[in-house]
Point group: C2
């Protein structure tokens, strides 16, 4: 006999494909669904499929979007001369939450990673260069994550774009606001000191 | 503009209905689904619906089952004279994993809880009494959780069943194997001492 009966096991297997969901959580979620009404389960199922069928990549910035051109690229309140390059749509959302950035974005959908077999061609770099060639861009802010791969991708993009006479910048490293110097790692602390500003 | 685009938000809202899933995890799961293939997403959706449409309660023990009578009640290797009463199907699975129990089960689908408005009538107690009346039962082991409500339900069932001349037992409380006495609470430790056995 299987540990649980088949439909529950099958649903738990699906939940386990989600990041950070282990065997016990997956089974707990499957039991949660069991306590949903049938219409709730159908609503959940529809939402799952809609994510795959109703979303496209914005023609401009390659962010996920329900329209051909996303709300940010299509809006006339943003500065289309400044492009913030990010790894994934989550980063767009994180920056949007600050409410401070007024330029547009470009989503790479990954970072260069020889270990994972991700080459520049696998990212939306061609699309970025096309935008730079076709539009008047004053600055490209590279906001890939401050990981080894994110830094390498930033360097790669910088060498590609700087020669075109466009200002290329990188988001600052430093001690997080509210953080404690005691717990900051050496590299972060060194960068925080290097990047010090006058008061 | 919504924080994320609509289909992703909607899926994240569904994930948030699962126990212990917060806003960030729900959004992470929704992004995970975005990276599934469309057929994987459909498979997930089908699994969700199957849990609601392909499962019934076993006529005998009220455990969830894909057949009218579950594998345990339908099998002839189990002792049908001993019924272990549990709160939910997860408890059945937990006890089955020990590989030690050879009797059958009865799933109450909850415990008596005046706070949550759950009365004995809302549980599968009638069905349990029917089994006790119709079959030859030698022992009822009450394995509700050792919580206030689980204990109250155990007391309630004991007062109902003992007068019928059937042995009613309760699973033991004590220090978990591999546990540390220092971290055991007072009630558990008192029960462990009360329930001591001779070596």
């Amino acid at each position: 006999m299987a540990e649980y009966i088949e439909p529950l096991e099958r649903l738990a297997d699906m939940f386990r494909r989600l990041d950070g969901v282990g065997r016990k959580s997956a089974m707990r979620y499957a039991f949660n669904v069991l306590s949903f009404t049938e219409s709730e389960a159908r609503e959940f199922a529809d939402a799952l499929i809609a994510v795959k069928t109703d979303l496209v990549l914005c023609e401009e910035c390659q962010n996920i979007s329900s329209e051909k051109v996303c709300g940010i690229c299509g809006g006339d309140t943003r500065d289309h001369g400044v492009i913030c390059v990010v790894e994934d749509p989550r980063a767009v959302s994180a920056i949007e939450k600050t409410g401070h950035y007024k330029g547009v974005y470009h989503v790479l959908h990954g970072v260069i990673s020889p270990m994972k077999g991700i080459a520049p061609d696998n990212l939306k770099i061609k699309e970025l260069l096309k935008r730079i060639h076709n539009e008047t861009i004053s600055e490209v802010i590279i906001a890939t994550n401050p990981t080894a791969e994110g830094e390498a991708t930033a360097m790669y993009l910088s060498r590609l774009i700087s020669p075109l006479g466009i200002k290329v910048s990188r988001i600052a490293n430093g001690v997080p606001v509210g953080g404690d110097l005691e717990y900051a790692d050496e590299v972060t602390l060194r960068r925080a000191i290097e990047g010090r500003y006058e008061l």
